[in-house]
Amino acid sequence: MSVLTKQELDYLQENLKREANEIEQDIVGAEWSEHCSYKSSKKYLRLLPTKGKRVVVGPGYDAGVLDVGGGYVLTVHIESHNHPSAVEPFGGAATGVGGVIRDIMSMGTRPIAVLDALRFAPITGMGKNLAKSKWLFKNVVKGIADYGNCIGIPTVGGEIEFDPSFEDYCLVDVASIGFGRKEDIVANQTDVGDVIVLGGGSTGRDGIHGASFASKALEAENRSAVQIPDPFLEKLLLEATMEAVKQGCIKSIKDLGGGGLSCCLSEASDNLGKGFDIELSRVYAKENGMTPNELMISESQERMLYVTDMARLPVLESILEKYEIRHSVLGIVQEHRNLVIRHGGKVVAEMPSHLVTHAPLADRAIKRPAYLDKLKTAKPPRTPANLGKVLLSLLSNPTIASKRWVYQQYDHEVGVRTVVKPGIGDAAVLRLDNNKFVAIKLDGNSKHCYLDPYQGTLGCLSEGRRNVICAGADPIGIVDHLQFASPEDPEIYWTFTQAINAIVDFCKFMDIPVVGGKVSFYNETAKGPIKPSPVIGTLGLIESASHIARSALSPGDSIFVVGNTVPEMGGSEYYEHVHGITGGPVPKVDLQVDRQNGNAALGLIKNSLATCVHDCAKGGLAVALAEMAIAGSTGFRVDLDAVPNSCSRIDDLLFSESHSRYIIGTKEQEKVRRALQSAGTTFAEIGSAAGHIEFAKDKKKAIKLTLKQLQASFYSLEKVMQ
């Protein structure tokens, strides 16, 4: 049965000027799946600003490449493995890590870090399906840990959100960054007569139809569509590929991912502008009797495609043999631009590569969802009498609580580059070989994006920028991972276009290029669609070790806040987690103010005026201050009347998630005041480090807690997961 629609089959026939045979239909079916073809999103992705002074290679390749000076480049990519992880969390998450690492390798760079953004249904409280959600969470983390730890690439950060819209499902986004010499970037230029080599794992019946499985709603638990991870083999492939790159014996590389050989061969052939003549019987198969269709669409993991010339083939082969990696010469590069597939000498498929890789774009209808108006306002809750208890409840909320239980399972130090480790700063910081440092963070907020996809996405971008600034970095690029339910639903498609608009507006205004990304549609189950969940990965560059900043409050610090606090409670953890309210206006980003505040904060850091910096995000001002206190084992006394705000309620003031706010600890109050004043920011000195945790309002204590109480709530995930 063909996975192509009637219109697609007609289009194919029209272009081929004949009917496509079954194998050709399977090849095209894999490549024209939403997952591989971007047929619903391509039109909009073209709007993203992708140029910048550091951009060497932008989106569209396996990974984006940024010049970081001194002859070095950073590569970055993000992918998700949502459907497979929802069915088989361990294998799904592990192969997700494997896939993104191969993308980094494909550029000729060594992966130096992995980050993960994970989304699950709640694992605490009254939810019906707690056990299932915990099972997914536990095994996704274990899958990531087992794969990353074994291969020796540190998992240095990420974020995790819990929301009921992920019931029976999960989002598993994996980003990786690579580092290398600019001259080692694989040029991807080939000549007629070059040979095409497949190296790595054998091809089996696992992961058949994986790409099309991921391109429709999750209906049945199709385990055979989930791939099997082998991190040891990936490690061998990594070392062999790095050695081959150094020896200069690779003319082009491409990893095998979704769609298997179908997508890899057609895309490589089309990118190179050359034809490929392939003999399928040369593929090492896991079992006898695999059909050409199965060989072409199997998504067996840990496979790489190399193109080299006859002269250098022996060198490549000897490297693969050193690492005991199975490999075979599959075919040869030809002048024509077709993908010719033979099986036992007989041509079983022959199509122009350009046709295979260019699915007819889908024209999707757009409609603003009706629910948005209903949720525009929400009846505010009564202000709780015990606000201290509310703060503790927010700190133990798994979305906010320390992720120590997670990151201690990840080897986050291998590679001896991790300077700012998980749990200490707003972004992970790794050292590079050119005396500079890269800061990286992933951010998402499904709750905000559901209520207002445009402002919600702007918020993720603002938060990402804030996070790398808080580490002391200048933002240099972003990657976006856009995750939605079915694009065939006009209301859902509208939310996707809103997210795109936000990225375009933000990145143009801030002059930050989009260097890579991925779109994942059809994230829905019988329980319904997920909330719109764009995840933004932000990269920053730190020029000097003295600029690296952390969030730990220290004794003697004066505390400043930069930015205004507005009662924008929609989608806040306070409304959703504490009161179970979904609705109300979400925080809005004023781009001008956002840039101004960020630049002012970065200026303080670079001038060594800040002892600690932290941004306000989920849980608002109160949670941000509590996190700084916990990180530095130092309490504080804050006067809420001093905080610049337009809130009429104390709970809004404490827990509003207004953007563009930074909390800064300093021992140089006067200099900080002058700098913030001359930057034109809204700011105030709001308190100082102390022994206990105290918020005062109208000269009265509004919250009084001990550091121990904060810690007990914040480090509660271990108990939940016992």
């Binding site: 087992d146 074994c150 020796g152 082998d230 005991e324 201690q408 080897d411 291998v414 001896v416 070790a545």
Partner: protein, 230 residues
Amino acid sequence: MAKIGIAVFPGSNCDRDVHHVLNKVIGVQADFIWHTKDRITGYDAMIIPGGFAFGDRLRAGIIAARSPIVQEVKRMAKDGLPVLGICNGFQILVESGLLPGALMMNDSLRFVCRWTIVEVKNNRTPFTSQFAPKQTFGIPVAHGEGRYMADSKILKDLKKKNQIVLQYFNDNPNGSSDLIAAICNEEGNVMGMMPHPERASESIISEGARNDGITIFRSLVSNLKQKAIA
């Protein structure tokens, strides 16, 4: 000039880190040696780094223990040359019979990556000679199978012969018997340790702790230099 060999197996992943610390931070020559090498000459000490040699298939370290290079390491150990196994390297030394006992799954049943504190119990080995007696220092662990286990006779012997080199201090990240973080053979020239000294050798990556891990490598290098003079 002293020269140190770093054994590299398929799946080793801390080899480059140890190489970096020895060559770039300390400034002593250290070279990678591939696991198929069955004749090693010109090296004054061997380090078996951490990672997942052979993917930890069957059991951590067991396949590597049967590789050609480990047979050479055994010969070098017998000749009295210093041999240091870190993390997976410790597992390999145990599986090869150079050190007694076994390394089991952590008591939490989970991989653990975090900083801990260890106390020097024996500062008369070639790897700890530059530490003060009973010195404590911060160092990270990162392992799934790091719980040192041995029967009571071995544990008694280890204590009697002063073979417990490092002990976890007010902490036990994996449930090891007698808080064991590192042991050596009777002669003292072969040591296995679960924590990663190469990750605690530079202050910039030693968050909140000093870079005392480097003293392990400095002790080794100083020992080799003394030998060269003698």
